[in-house]
């Protein structure tokens, strides 16, 4: 066992993992975090706590992660390379671990240009690949990047993201392989809508033996509306929304589009359960946390295993 986190135990025991996501507030309300967390409790194995997502200032991800711990949920603490240098990152990892955080997701981070401080200096002292390796080195070798010893190394379950849809497609599995050699334990993918392309990606990963070395959690975001689907298709970089998906949503009865979106997500989850190389699902119900219990129920992933 690398970290002893709930997520690690669930995956290690061979259960189909189910993780959720929570965006911290743009203010100081712990209550808001607790409220969102209440919908996720007992419905997911761990909850990703986003780190200034889309480069917009929010409550620190470690702080919101601690609130989750208080509520009895397991956080998956996200850390982006955009906002801090290697000193800050390593010290945050120590602090996070000291206070009970056991999972981390290492990301590059959206460019500051997208956010509410578009002229800020993006740090990117190290990149996501190097961050993964930094956490692994701290954990397994008990060494900081600079070479000094870490007293009581942090036992962190190391996560990363993978976007099977960004170009160049054929390079994506190699990038995943690089993350594996950097030391990643589990990977959550970008939201999947193009199932055919994802099947190809997973097949390539299976053929390269990658899925035996890393747990892959397939990213699912139910579409709430046709507008959301169109926005994801045209405005979100690296997102692949096939026309069929939009067509199906458009075909839904009036007032039933969100319902159709949930139905589609459940069908996807059903397929992922039996897809070789997929170890679970990461559900990103953006500002739709209250729907998670219903989705989890309908997707047949309840009750969550106690390990």
């Amino acid at each position: 066992m690398k970290s002893g986190s709930n997520l690690e135990k669930v995956l290690l025991a061979g259960h189909f993992a189910f993780t959720g996501e929570l965006g911290p507030p743009r203010g100081t309300s712990a209550e808001e975090v607790r409220q969102k967390a209440s919908f996720l409790k007992d419905h997911v194995d761990a909850v990703n706590i986003t780190d200034n997502q889309t480069a917009v200032v929010r409550m620190a991800s470690w702080a919101a992660s601690l609130i989750l711990l208080q509520e009895g949920l397991e956080p998956n603490y996200q850390m982006v390379c955009r906002d801090r240098n290697r000193l800050a990152m390593q010290s945050d990892i120590l602090g996070a671990y000291a206070l009970g955080i056991r999972n981390m997701l290492c990301l590059s981070g959206d460019h500051v240009k997208f956010g509410d401080h578009p002229t800020a200096k993006g740090v990117f002292d190290i990149d996501s690949m190097q961050l993964i390796h930094t956490v692994k080195r701290m954990r397994d070798e008990g060494k900081f990047l600079g070479g000094a010893d870490v007293e009581h190394p942090p036992r962190i379950f190391i996560g990363a993201a993978s976007n099977p849809f960004a170009d160049p497609f054929e390079w994506r599995v190699h990038r995943l392989a690089k993350k594996i050699s950097a030391g990643v334990d589990f990977v959550q993918t970008q939201c999947i809508y193009n199932m055919e392309k994802f099947r190809t990606f997973i097949k390539m990963a299976n053929d390269m033996g990658l899925t035996e070395k890393v747990y892959i959690l397939a990213g699912v975001t139910p579409m709430k509306s046709v507008g959301m689907a169109n926005y994801m298709k045209s405005k979100v970089p690296g997102m692949d929304v096939p026309d069929d998906v939009i067509k199906r949503l458009k075909g839904a009865e009036k007032g039933k589009v969100a319902e159709e979106g949930i139905k589609m997500a459940c069908e996807q989850i059903e397929e992922f359960k039996t897809m070789k190389g997929v170890a679970g699902v990461h559900l990103m119900a953006i500002e739709w946390e209250h729907k998670v219990p219903e989705i989890a129920e309908r997707a047949g992933v309840l009750p969550r295993p106690k390990v």
Binding site: C81, R82, R86, S108, G109, D110, H111, K113, F114, G122, F124, D125, I126, D127, S128, M129, Q130, H133, T134, L145, A161, S162, N163, A166, D167, P168, W171, H174, R175, A177, K178, S181, A182, Q190, P237, G238
Partner: protein
Amino acid sequence: MIVAKRKPFDEIKQLLKGYKKVLNIGCGTCVAVCLTGGEKEVSVLNMEIDMARKLEDNPIQIDGFTIERQCDREYLEALDNRVNDYQALLSMACGAGIQFLAERYPHIPVLPAVDTTFIGVNQAVGWYEERCRSCSSCVLGLTGGICPVTMCAKGLYNGPCGGTNKGMCEIDSSQPCAWFMIYERLKEQGRLDCILEITPPVDWLNQIPRTLVQPGYKKPE
């Protein structure tokens, strides 16, 4: 070459406020090639300043003088006998030239007329693009001659990130994704193995002022 951009006129005017006699010094090298701070640009700016100040009923004597390179003592020497007649010096050289000028004449205020912008290439007359951030540890040998530090908006050494969008960068659909280009070029050259290995964290060498003394040379005492 070093590419610079003239400062907004109002900013230059503001910098010159309070001075009645100023020498505007051009530079005949990089900033002249990029049409920002050579002899011609010195005269154009001087005419504009002269006119603006006349209109304000606050005339200024602004003269121009362009030397070959403001980053070189040998050429700065030509100014030694001129600068003392002026209350301030305006420089149209890059930031290095401006500082070298200020260092040579510490008793005279030296003011910038340009914003130094980047180290770049001359794509066509009047069209320049950045190519180098002078990071002091060049990886172009591994990345197909495309700089990830300069050309990737996140300066990633192990790209591309998940935001690459049909070969373009997530920040701007007209900006090619550096890592997409790196991949394409290395693939073409049969050298993809160059980027299969993880590039370790970079030793940032540009965080303090750098000095270079070539072998066989010495810093003067």
